[in-house]
């Protein structure tokens, strides 16, 4: 017997990424997509196709993001306390690539997490 627990506030995970220095740049090792100035219907990872949040579209193998546990399809909610749900694409990029920050702490959510919660609640 199912107890349909539909949680509208999905499970969130905190991920701490230590930036890697490559030459003159500090890289995190993933790619982002989305933003309030972008077209949300083209986002392959979002469940709700009007969601204009920032999503992780690619994670470099062996990069700092993968090491820290970031996965493809994650939606980034906060970066170091800054909100990322209502930002433009460029603002998101800038907040992630600040030159004087060596560590970024992300608050992410992912659908697999939601499913995991649901399953654990059901059993």
């Amino acid at each position: 017997q199912y107890s349909a627990v539909v949680s509208f506030s999905p499970f969130q995970q905190r991920i701490e990424i230590h930036k890697l220095r490559q030459g003159d740049n500090l890289i995190l090792g993933f790619s982002i997509g989305g933003g309030i100035d972008q077209d949300p219907s083209q986002n392959p990872f979002s469940e709700d196709k009007t969601d204009k949040g920032i999503y992780v579209t690619r994670v470099t193998e062996g990069g700092p993001a993968e090491v820290a546990g970031l996965q493809i399809g994650d939606k980034i909610m906060q970066v170091n306390g800054w909100d990322m749900t209502m930002v433009t694409h460029d603002q998101a990029r800038k907040r992630l690539t600040k030159r004087n920050e060596e560590v970024v702490r992300l608050l992410v959510t992912r659908q697999s997490l939601q499913k995991a919660v649901q399953q654990s609640m059901m059993s």
Partner: protein, 574 residues
């Protein structure tokens, strides 16, 4: 007065008109009859004596008749021998290019599209010297030049005569071929009806075409005197000569000796000669005119004194022809050479003279001493703190400001002066005393802007170039053609220094240039050739670069393939 005589000026040094007489004196001295003076200068003698040496040179007279393609050969051979003997020893060959003098130049020099390379000279009159003194070496130079040119003129005359004779021979030969059998053995000839008549007509018309073509191609006024043989012309001369001679040979042997009866054959022989001559003419057109049309080289001409430079595209030319081409363009492209603008103000330079004294103690080898000394002086001078650049900068800024201020005054004065006149409309009723022709109108408005004009010209150091007469003439020109004096209008000749050719020809067009080149000047242009055209006080350095071979590849773009999407889902890697 010197100005009333026609003169070909050999060496013309530009006067540095830096004296500043009061305005009244200048204006008062001006209204002499037809006397062209630099506006703002008082007397010629006031200038330094070395700047104005007028020399004139005898040269032969070029006339219209002798310029056929065959005129070159004899002249070329003769001059080639002479030039070789003179310049054989030097590795750096220096030859002079003499452009023809004024009277024929008026029509010629502005026609830039005719690249005819006829030899030519014009009559010039040996003038006495002007009010200036002539130094002794000038006299010796004059006599030497006169002797030189006297030789060349004789040869040129002779060459032209012979060339004319050869041309005439070539023209008359076919006619002679056809007439001789008729005259000599008329009774024995076979009758020749329609084909012969057809051939006669064709010969007549072909000869006419040949005549017109030769006239168009060769009978042109020369624009420059070349130092060396023009190779293609010599080639053509030789070709024509051989052609005619061989035809006569065969004619003599086969027809005259054996009294050939077949008149039609004789006429056809004559026709074939005319055809051959027409083809030689075609060859002449291709070699002399068409070959250099396609651009192959880019020539960069830089004036050594002030760095003004231009680029020109030319085709395959020999160095001497390229030099003449550059000169033709020089006169209308380069701003006039104004030596007064080149010098740093004296206050800037004077400080440099105070030197750094070096004393030598003891016995030393003199050569070592001098180089060591000079090096020490230079090093010390470099290390010493030198503020002359500051002065230069401020002097320049001040000068710039002054020029702009005077220019503003001039522009306002001119515009206001022009508002005093208007064109007479037909319906206006004015009494005849008030109606003026352009000259009077120019004089009327000139007074109100004379002062501003003079000050401006003096500040920009242009006053040697504009005499009052020339200014009045230009004003007359502007008024006649309704050219507005506004800053961007048609009558702005004084506001910028224009090209050399716009100034009064008597004074500023010197025609003697010296071509200095390391390769023989009849060689064709190649990549990297550098030659120099020298004048008294500056030279034009011309360097050649080959136009690169362009590899054009084709890419077909289907017009339907232009499609676009909105770029709203961008991905950025961080």
């Amino acid at each position: 007065k010197i100005e009333s005589l026609k003169v070909t000026v050999d060496f013309l040094k530009l006067p540095l008109g830096l004296k500043k007489p009061p305005l009244k004196e200048a204006l008062a001295a001006v209204p002499g009859p037809g006397r062209s003076k630099p506006f703002g200068l008082e007397r010629h003698k006031a200038r330094r004596s070395d700047t104005m040496d007028n020399e004139s040179q005898y040269s032969g007279y070029s006339y219209k008749s002798g310029h056929s393609r065959s005129s070159r050969k004899h002249r070329d051979r003769r001059d080639r021998h002479r030039s070789k003997s003179r310049d054989g020893s030097r590795g750096d060959k220096s030859v002079t290019i003499q452009a023809p003098g004024e009277p024929l130049l008026d029509n010629e020099s502005t026609r830039g599209d005719e690249r005819d390379d006829n030899w030519g000279e014009t009559t010039t009159v040996v003038t006495g010297t002007s009010e200036h003194s002539i130094s002794h070496d000038d006299i010796t130079r004059i006599t030497k030049d006169m002797e030189d040119s006297a030789h060349l003129d004789c040869s040129r005359h002779l060459g032209v005569m012979l060339a004319g004779a050869l041309a005439l021979l070539a023209f008359l030969t076919p006619v002679a071929f056809m007439l001789l059998p008729q005259l000599l053995w008329r009774d024995e000839l076979e009758p020749c009806g329609t084909p012969c008549e057809g051939l006669f007509i064709s010969v007549a018309f072909k000869l006419l075409i040949l005549l017109l073509g030769s006239w168009a191609l060769f009978f042109r006024r020369p624009k420059a005197f070349f130092p060396r043989v023009f190779v293609f012309r010599a080639l053509l001369m030789v070709l024509v000569f051989l052609l005619v001679v061989s035809y006569w040979l065969f004619y003599g042997v086969r027809i005259l000796d054996s009294r050939d009866r077949n008149y039609q054959g004789v006429v056809q022989y004559a026709v074939s000669l005319v055809d051959a001559l027409l083809f030689v003419h075609y060859l002449a057109v291709v070699l002399l005119e068409l070959r250099q049309l396609q651009p192959q080289f880019t020539l960069k001409a830089v004036r050594s004194a002030d760095g003004a430079s231009r680029f020109y595209n030319v085709g395959h030319l020999s160095i001497q022809r390229a030099a003449v081409w550059i000169l033709e363009n020089y006169y209308h492209d380069f701003p006039v050479y104004n030596p007064a603008l080149l010098n740093l103000p004296k206050s800037v330079l004077s400080k440099k003279m105070s030197g750094f004294k070096v004393y030598s103690l003891g016995e030393e080898n003199s050569t070592n001493n001098s180089t060591g000394q000079s090096r020490a002086v230079i090093a010390a001078a470099a290390r010493r703190r030198d503020n002359s650049h500051n002065e230069f900068y401020y002097e320049e800024a001040e000068h710039e400001r002054r020029v702009r201020k005077r220019r503003a005054r001039l522009v306002v004065a001119v515009e206001e002066a022009f508002t005093h006149i208007k064109r007479l409309q037909e319906e206006d009723q004015k009494n005849p005393r008030e109606i003026m022709d352009p000259r009077e109108a120019a004089q009327a408005i000139f007074a109100s802007m004379a002062r501003a004009m003079q000050k401006y010209l003096r500040t920009t150091k242009q006053q040697p170039y504009h005499t009052m007469e020339s200014i009045l003439q230009h004003l007359e020109f502007c008024i006649t053609h309704d050219m507005t004096p506004k800053v961007r209008g048609g009558c702005t000749r004084y506001l910028t220094a224009g090209p050399t050719i716009q100034y009064h020809k008597d004074r500023w067009l010197a025609k003697q240039w010296t071509l200095v080149s390391e390769e023989p000047v009849t060689n064709g242009l190649k990549d990297g050739v550098v030659f120099v055209l020298k004048r008294q006080d500056f030279s034009l350095v011309v360097s050649t670069k080959k136009i690169p071979f362009f590899k054009l590849s084709e890419e077909f773009v289907d017009p339907k393939s232009h499609k676009f999407v909105m770029r709203l889902q961008s991905e950025t890697s961080v």
